[in-house]
């Protein structure tokens, strides 16, 4: 049908085949440019789907001089004291999940890699490197974000620190050496000291915190 019309049309208006070819080339170029512009503008709009990274004080990484506060529970946002850690020692969960609080009193809870674990352990059982970055009283801190898939390492089973998601087990006395599970690396230790009963950050993370992917 369309073929017939095209032929009839051709007979009625004999045209220069060259002009036909030019017209076709122009139309094809126009379609190409139009399609390209449509794809580009879609990508431009689509780029808005990539989340923006906002700089706010509560997203700053943990820094020397920060104090540690309870991340959750009845005492959430309160500073963790040596007494709190002593009280936890006998409990089912002997450690405390903590966030750093800056000297300007901003709790830096909006950066996930700031999730920490702090525990009072026996310095005699610690490896020399671990002891070096713990307080003399035996206060130890680690990043609590599992190196495997980023869960919070929040269980205590058979005297071991265990990630509930895929069963990673860390040795808290030995720089969080991996004892079991699919975990690719130890979570980094955070040097701490005790000042006026409060736990204070004494150095940078000894490694990269966060899931290792």
């Amino acid at each position: 049908m369309a073929d017939h019309e095209a032929k009839a049309h051709h007979h009625d208006h004999p045209e220069d085949p060259q002009a036909h070819a030019t017209r076709r080339a122009v139309l094809q170029a126009a379609i190409g440019v139009g399609a390209g512009a449509a794809v580009l503008s879609t990508l431009w709009v689509g780029a808005g789907l990539v989340p923006r990274v906002e700089k706010v004080p509560s997203k700053e990484p943990v820094a020397v001089g920060d104090t540690l506060v309870f991340a959750m529970g009845a005492k959430a946002d309160q500073e963790i004291t040596l007494d709190d850690l002593r009280a936890a020692q006998g409990a089912a969960l002997p450690f405390i999940i903590a966030f750093p609080k800056s000297p300007e009193n901003v709790i830096k809870k909006d950066l996930r890699n700031n999730t920490l674990m702090v525990i009072l352990a026996d310095p005699a059982r610690m490896s020399p490197e671990t002891r070096q970055h713990a307080s003399p009283e035996g206060v130890l801190a680690y990043s609590a974000i599992c190196k495997h898939l980023g869960c919070t390492v929040s269980q205590w089973i058979n005297n071991n620190w265990v990630c509930p998601c895929h069963g990673g087990v860390y040795d808290i006395h030995n720089q969080a050496r991996v004892l079991a599970g699919p975990v690719p690396a130890p979570v980094p230790q955070l040097p701490v000291r005790v000042e006026g009963g409060r736990v204070v950050v004494a150095g940078e993370f000894l490694g990269e915190p966060g899931a290792d992917v």
Binding site: V50, K109, H148, C165, G167, V178, P182, D212, V213
Partner: protein, 429 residues
Amino acid sequence: MYQWLDDRLSIGRLYAKAFRKAFPVHHSFFLGEITLFSFITLVLTGIFLTLNYEPSIRPVAGPLSDGKEVPAAYYSILYIDSLPFGAVLRSLHHWAAHIMIAAAFLHMLRIHLTGAYKNPRELNWMIGVFLLVFSILAAFTGYALPYDNYAFTATKIGYEIGAAAPWVGRLMSDILFAGELSLTNTQTIPRLYSIHVLWLPLALMGLIGAHLAIMIKQKHTQPRYAEKVAPGKIVGVPLFPQQAVMMGVLFLIYLAVATFIAGAFIAHPVQAFGPPTVATPAVKPDWYFMWIFGILQMIPATWRFEFLGATFGPQFWGGILVPTLIILGALAIPFLDYAKDKRRYLELPSQHPFRTSFVIGMLMFYLMTTLAGYKVDLQLTIGTLWMLVLAVPFLTGLAAYIILKAVYGKEWNQEAEGKQIGKGSAADD
């Protein structure tokens, strides 16, 4: 009235042309229909849920949370559960998703075992594979929406597995989840909500439409007996009324059973987990993810290397590579087991021993990797699991082949002879 409509819409012609279309009947053909019914149920119950759900994590407090501040999404689940039949409809949505994935998987097994993916149905097989993948993605994006601690943790693991894809993984996960999952990321829930209630259902609808249109255009495969009864013809019942009645009855039975399950087993009680906190609860994925979870537990942490700035670690091998290879393998099946001539009839699993044994072996692989998901509970070692996952599927497949040969071996020779004479579509495995 009928005359008036018929004058304008030619109902009589439509009836004669379309509604009298013959549909072959076999009880295994209903698996695809159950998948479709589940999808319809999911859309309808999903519409009910959207009318009452608030896709936001802004803190709200009310009588349902005893005056405590909880995220709005979490609160709206409490609200939905408090509506008349609200908890049942929400549970129906949950269980229908499980039934849909299970039925789609069994439907796929039926197609595989009877060789129905062969020429000319390769395209529909591939669409089917994508339908299964998209259904699972839709189920996953629905996980997070109740926004309790369990849902939050499960979704966080999904984020990190996505991020484990080399080079583009982090960007991909960031786009899908609107950034790293955290208790204060307000954009994640709206993003997942949009994907779950809009984009994936649209994609599924499009693919289901294509799947059905191609099935009607190519005609359904027929059981083997049809070849003897009326060679070259379609043996079946007309779409209307017989097929339509069967479908209607099946739909009602499906709805009755699914609603019974939903009423008896309330899905995912959010109060049991509470709103998300910093601490992670012990999570176990649903059965259709358990095998990936199992593989993740089997891969030693030392299996990692860096290449051109990307890390290839356990998360990549277990969470990305193995599922991708299985999906690509599934897509390749109609081309690996290719038929030159067009097929109309189903093949008997007993006459295709290699394929049948392979499918049984793959099922064992699925079961063994699922078992690996219980590594910690059963106190299994990585070595035991590797032995189970590698040896059991192979040995089961081998045993299946030997049994098939012992029982049906004689018929294979007859089939082969029949092929030489030029009758029937015989084994070509």
